[in-house]
Symmetry: C2
Subunit: 223 residues, 2 copies
DNA sequence: ACAATAGTGTCTGTTAGACAGTATTCA
DNA sequence: TGAATACTGTCTAACAGACACTATTGT
C-alpha cells in the first residue's frame, strides 16, 4: 500500500534577551490558512536546493526575513495530524539565537514583534497560527534546560559581554538568581571564556569576554 | 512554486543492556534498495491511522516485529538529501528501551541480532542500510548524555532490579565506574526508587527496587 | 567456616553558597 | 566625595569520593 507523504516544514523561533528577559521574535502570517495570526518564521524544505534541514532553516531565515542568526541548533520535531488543517504535517523546529540589537533591528525592518516569554507564555499573543504557541514554548523549555550546563545563552548577548551581562542571561533563562562572586569564579574555572577589551558601564569598567568556542558543555549545572 | 515533499520515515533503534554492555537490536532489510543490510526497525508514517510520530513509532514496532518497548522517546531528526538514494528524506528517530530478556526473545523470534555498541560502533556490522549506522551512534550518544542526569537507563533492566544492577547500567552507559557505597546513597536520596521484594543472587539477597515514575531527572550528574 | 554479594559508617578534600570588603570609574 | 558597578578573599555547610567495616545469604 502506498501512503500519502506528510507535509514537512522547518520552523525557526528566534530568541534573544531584552531587558534581561527571554523574548521570541514572531511575524504575522500573510496567507491562508491562519492568515493574520502571529507565527514562527518557517517554510517548506526545497528539495532541489537545501542539502539538509540546517541549510533549510538558514535559507528560510535568509529568504523570508533576511536574517543570519548567531547560533542555531535542531530542537525537536513536532509531527501529528492535527497541527495543520491541511493534513498530517511535520515541523522540524530549529532554535535560533541572536543578540537583542540584531533582533530589534529585524523586527523593525520586517513588521515583526518581540514577545516576552519569561512568564510561561502569558505575554504571547492570544491567537497564534497552527500550533506555533506550543512550538515556541517547547523551544523555550529546551533552551532553558540546555542553558543549565552549557554556554548557549551567551549567543543572546553582544559578541563581547561583561560578566554581569552573562550572569543576567543565565538568570533570565534559568529563572533563578545566582551569586555574582560565585558565578564569576565558577565560569572562569570552566575556561570557556576569553578576555577582550574593557567595557564601559555605569561604574568601574568591566572586563569584556567572548566565547572561546561556539558552545561548551559543563559537567555540572551552573547555578 | 510547488516543491516536492520529502519522504518521511520513523526509525526506532531498540536498546538494552546485555552483560553490562549497551546493545542495539537490528534487523535485516528485506527489500531494495540496500536489501540484505543490517537496519534499524522503521517505516513510513501512515497518515490515515497514526495520530502522531509516537503512535507511528509504536505501530511500526508492533507491526514489523511485534514488540512493545518499555520506554520510548523522540531522539532527533535526520533530514538531508543524501541519506536515501531515492531522494530527500526525513527520519524522525525514536529511542526505544527494553530489558535484555525481552530483546533476546525478540531477536530470536524475528531473525534480528543484538550488537554490542559499547566501543563506539566497532562491533556494528560493516555494511548497514542507508545512514543507519549514524542513526544508531547518534541515538546511543543521546542515551549516554541523558543517562547522566536521569533514570532512563533503568528501562534496560528488568522491572525489579537490585542496586548493583542499576549501578552496572549507569556504568555501562556512562562508560565509567562509580563507587557502590556512594552510588547507593546518592540515588536513594533522590527518592526516585521504590522498594519491592528481595532478589536472590550469589550472596546476600538484595533489596529489589522499581522506578516510582517512568522517568525522573536529577539536578546534577550522577557519578 | 568461607566465599560472595549487600549494605553502613566515617573520614577527607572539594565545592556551593553566603557575605564582607576592596577597586575603579563617573558625576 | 559619593553613587555605581566590578572584583576578591574568606568562611561554613554540604557533597563527592574513598575506604574500612558489618550483614546475610549459599555451599
Amino acid at each position: 500500500m502506498n501512503y500519502e507523504s506528510p507535509i514537512v516544514t522547518v520552523d525557526v523561533p528566534l530568541f534573544t534577551l531584552l531587558d534581561r528577559r527571554l523574548h521570541v521574535a514572531l511575524g504575522v502570517r500573510e496567507k491562508a490558512p491562519e492568515m493574520g495570526k502571529a507565527c514562527v518564521t518557517g517554510g517548506y524544505i526545497h528539495t532541489d536546493e537545501d542539502v539538509d534541514d540546517q541549510a533549510a532553516a538558514l535559507r528560510i531565515l535568509r529568504e523570508k526575513v533576511d536574517f543570519v542568526p548567531r547560533y542555531a541548533e535542531q530542537g525537536f520535531t513536532e509531527a501529528n495530524r492535527n497541527r495543520d488543517e491541511r493534513g498530517w504535517s511535520v515541523s522540524i523546529v530549529w532554535l535560533a539565537l541572536a543578540d537583542a540589537e540584531s533582533l530589534v533591528d529585524l523586527v523593525a525592518r520586517r513588521g515583526m514583534k518581540l514577545y516576552d516569554i519569561q512568564d510561561g507564555g502569558a505575554n504571547l499573543p492570544e491567537q497564534m497560527a497552527f500550533d506555533h504557541r506550543l512550538l515556541v514554548l517547547k523551544a523555550a523549555e529546551r533552551l532553558r534546560s540546555k542553558a543549565a550546563y552549557s554556554t548557549i545563552v551567551a549567543h543572546m548577548l553582544p559578541r563581547e559581554f561583561s560578566m554581569s551581562e552573562l550572569q543576567g542571561a543565565y538568570e533570565a533563562v534559568r529563572l533563578k538568581p545566582c551569586n555574582a562572586a560565585n558565578f564569576r569564579t565558577k565560569i572562569l574555572k570552566e575556561q570557556v571564556l576569553a578576555e577582550t577589551d574593557m567595557l564601559r558601564s555605569g561604574g568601574r569598567p568591566a572586563t569584556g569576554y567572548t566565547l572561546k568556542e561556539p558552545i561548551a558543555y559543563f559537567d555540572r549545572e551552573l547555578y
